[in-house]
């Protein structure tokens, strides 16, 4: 959620049970301004919090001119001193996918995963390969994955110019009550993956300037989102069941929207059993 609207938007997603205390909030108001200036970001978002066993990571995200491409993630323990996270590479993702335990809260902690690989044709020749990855890169990959899989924006909040630049739509006035009640009007804020698979008939209804993202209602499995009216039925709150802890809010008929992740940073792989 945007750092400028932090003081009221945290209240709107508090129905999930997690908030920040006043000390953290005020610290964020101060440090994010400095962060924006130092890194020359156009916009700074408070992205969320990943709960560790010993310490919690606070994550901020800086956005550049292109909202979709120019993203930089930073983490902090005290909401004041921010450290840049490395970009997530394919080899890092591969290594991190093996780790399923909880975050510790120490960026230099090294996870070790022993993998048994077969050598050649014979079954008896096996080799134990130790995969080592530190928590900082795991954090970078996790934040990237959550952004990739479950970051949400309402339809029309962002426009893509003919040159491919994605920017906020200044004239976005919010979804109407009936529109906001449907998952079709919420989009994944990441590179579209399903869009090319759509048939020409479906593509005909789409507006290329605003329908350049994937729709939430196409997600597999069906029912991996929970859409509810909260705060005296005035705010639509979307919660991801795949990444428990991700909450998105949108106040209908206003441009206010945003998402925050406060959780343990573990993907809910048991989802198919739980629906």
């Amino acid at each position: 959620m945007d750092s400028n609207s932090l003081y009221y938007s945290l209240e709107l997603v508090a129905g999930s049970g997690s908030t920040l205390n006043v000390e953290r909030r005020t610290a964020l108001q101060t440090s994010l301004v400095i962060l924006k200036k130092n890194y020359k970001f156009h916009r700074v978002l408070f992205w969320g919090k990943i709960l560790g066993l010993k310490e919690d990571y606070f994550i901020a995200q800086g956005r550049g001119e292109d909202e979709l491409q120019d993203k930089k993630n930073l983490y902090s323990f005290n909401c004041m001193d921010w450290f840049l996270l490395p970009p997530a590479t394919e080899s890092m993702k591969e290594k991190v996918s093996k780790i399923k335990s909880r975050f510790i809260g120490d960026p230099s902690f090294v996870y070790e995963h022993i993998e048994i690989r077969r050598q050649g044709e014979r079954d008896d020749a096996t080799e134990e390969v130790v995969i080592k990855v530190n928590e900082e890169s795991r954090l970078a990959v996790t934040v990237h994955q959550i952004d990739d899989e479950v970051s949400v924006v309402p339809r029309g909040a962002f426009v893509k110019s003919p040159h491919g630049l994605v920017q906020m739509n200044r004239s976005f006035g919010g979804l109407s009550h009936s529109e906001a009640g449907k998952l079709d009007n919420f989009l994944h804020f990441s590179e579209a993956k399903n869009l090319k698979k759509k048939s020409i008939l479906e593509m005909g209804d789409l507006n290329p300037a605003i329908d350049f993202l994937d729709v939430l209602s196409d997600d597999i499995p069906k029912g991996s989102w929970s859409l509810q009216l909260e705060c005296a039925s005035k705010v639509f709150v979307l919660r991801s069941l795949l990444w428990l802890g991700l909450s998105f809010y949108h106040v209908p008929m206003t441009p206010q929207h945003g998402y925050v992740y406060i959780g343990d940073g573990i993907k809910n792989l048991d989802l198919p059993f739980m629906l």
Binding site: G15, N21, L51, H177, S226, R239, L241, G263
Partner: protein
């Protein structure tokens, strides 16, 4: 000159006539449109008007269409917010006899604002306005029911709506007995008209572990839930051990509808209300903690032997409060104050091998029973008020994370304890005050992925033996051979008999 002027006027008039010409498609004309547009620019004075003139032009056109559309009267739609506001209105009404009630000494109503204040420091909460609404809803509950004590237990999130859960205790003797559902089940009588009755199944289900009585064990408290503050509170049914053991094996989201069936394997006995109640019992048993020394063991069960675990406690009047740093650093300064639920699904173990009705036997028979080989080992859980430092580690994860709420002003911070086994469960302690709350999905941490239990192996239909083994049908040749052999045998026997008869005849 005149002619030039008149010519200019004429051309201007003809151009105006051209501008006034209405379009064949939209029936608008450019003159009116430009007038409207310039009026809009004059009224609004937008910065950089030349850059946005196209958009403004479009707005003007759109406004014309909207006016036409508004001649149809819109049907007023009642939104969800309006419906809820109507229902929440009653929360804010002040009863007329409020002044008299204020004089009453103790109220079972908890101070939710204070709870909300401390929880916000711990980074947990429902939002300030929502907390206030829940507070008012709890007040409504306390006023409508005769409760001895009441507490905000927490919130359980569901996929369609969430549950706000209140924990309550009845006054002595005012407990309502619940109608038990299973007792009126009678064996269907066999119909005598059937000449060839089907064989009866010899399978006898294992005896059900009896429910704990209201006010003891897992049913110590009653729980009320509501979807939104202002909507009616619903009392949850009491929990049975079978439901707890089934809930341990499944992993399901709550939907938010209490009467929703729980479709799972192994099958869950009951609907979502029962499932919710079972999870509440498990969460309470696992995560309700208090500072060491706040409670002390009750004194009334002094005459009993040590065999039964103590199940009562009372507030320690001499409790002074522990320093916050100590509470945050060592887990041994926190204790569980809710009984552990045993593997059997109860807090106090019951011996199923003892048949009901035989309890009042004389000693001789009791001794005999002790010698029985299949006497099950009684399950014993950790006693009440066990420190958290003795909690078991699961999946390599320490069960608790403790913190101080503030590092900058630690003089006035509160100690915060977060459960890692039940994500969403949180406790705080500050001086003599402490509270527990749960806000989460009602699911336990499952380590590296949940694997559902495998269905049991199919049973063998019958023991295989020669009398039921299928044999090949004999062919015609084989039958004839057998027939000849039999005839020969018969002939031989007859001959033998004949000779025997003759011999007998000879004897006579």
């Amino acid at each position: 000159m005149e002619s030039e002027d008149s010519l200019r006027l004429q051309s201007a008039a003809s151009f105006k006539a051209f501008l006034l010409k209405s379009s064949t498609e939209s029936h608008l004309n450019l003159y009116d449109h430009l007038t409207g547009l310039l009026l809009k620019v004059m009224d609004e004075h937008p910065p950089n008007a030349v850059d946005v003139i196209e958009d403004m032009s479009r707005d003007v056109k759109r406004a014309v269409l909207e006016e036409q559309q508004s001649s149809l009267r819109e049907l007023p739609e009642t939104s969800a917010a309006e419906l809820l506001a109507e229902q929440q209105r009653s929360l804010f009404s002040r009863p007329e006899d409020a002044d008299q009630e204020d004089e009453l000494m103790e109220t079972p109503l908890p101070n939710v604002s204070e709870l909300g204040f401390y929880l916000e420091q711990a980074g947990v909460g429902l939002g300030r306005e929502e907390t206030q609404r829940v507070f008012l809803a709890l007040k409504q509950l306390v006023e409508s029911q005769a409760l001895l004590r009441c507490r905000l237990w927490g919130k359980v999130l569901g996929t369609e709506s969430s549950y706000i859960v209140a924990e309550a205790e009845y006054r002595e003797g005012e407990e309502e007995e619940e109608p038990s559902l299973n007792e009126d089940e009678t064996e269907p009588e066999m119909e005598d008209t059937e000449t060839d009755p089907l064989p009866l199944s010899t399978y006898k289900p294992l005896p059900d572990v009896p429910k704990e009585a209201l006010g003891t064990g897992a049913n110590k408290y009653v729980y009320y839930v509501c979807k939104e503050p202002g909507l009616p509170w619903v009392k949850l049914p009491s929990v049975s051990p079978a439901q707890i053991t089934a809930a341990r094996q499944i992993r399901k989201f709550f939907t938010g509808r209490l009467d929703n069936p729980v479709a799972s394997y192994p099958p869950f006995p009951g609907n979502e209300a029962n499932y919710l109640r079972a999870q509440i019992a498990r969460i309470s048993a696992g995560t309700q903690v208090s500072p060491q020394g706040f409670f002390q063991a009750g004194e009334e069960e002094g005459d009993e032997e040590d065999t039964s675990p103590r199940d009562s406690y009372e507030a320690n009047p001499d409790f002074e409060g522990l320093p916050v740093t100590e509470m945050a650093e060592s887990l041994s300064s926190w204790v569980h104050h809710v009984q552990h639920i045993l593997q059997q699904g109860r807090c106090t173990w019951v011996n199923l091998a003892v048949k009901p009705g035989e309890d009042t036997n004389d000693e001789g028979e009791a001794e005999e029973k002790e010698e029985e080989p299949d006497e099950p080992e009684p399950e014993v859980g950790p006693p009440l008020l066990t420190p958290l430092s003795q909690d078991a580690e699961m999946f390599g994860t320490p069960p608790w994370t403790s913190k101080v709420s503030s590092t900058l002003t630690s003089q006035h911070a509160v100690a915060v304890l977060r459960s890692n086994l039940w994500p969403g469960s949180c406790a705080y302690a500050c001086g003599k005050k402490f509270e527990n709350i749960y806000v989460g999905w009602g699911l336990k941490y499952a380590g590296e992925g949940y694997s559902p239990p495998v269905p049991p192996l199919p049973q063998k239909e019958y023991p295989s033996g020669p009398e039921i083994t299928e044999a090949l049908d004999p062919s015609l040749e084989e039958e004839q051979v057998l027939k000849e052999a039999l005839e020969e045998q018969q002939a031989a026997q007859e001959e033998l008999q004949d000779s025997g008869d003759e011999a007998e005849d000879d004897d006579d």
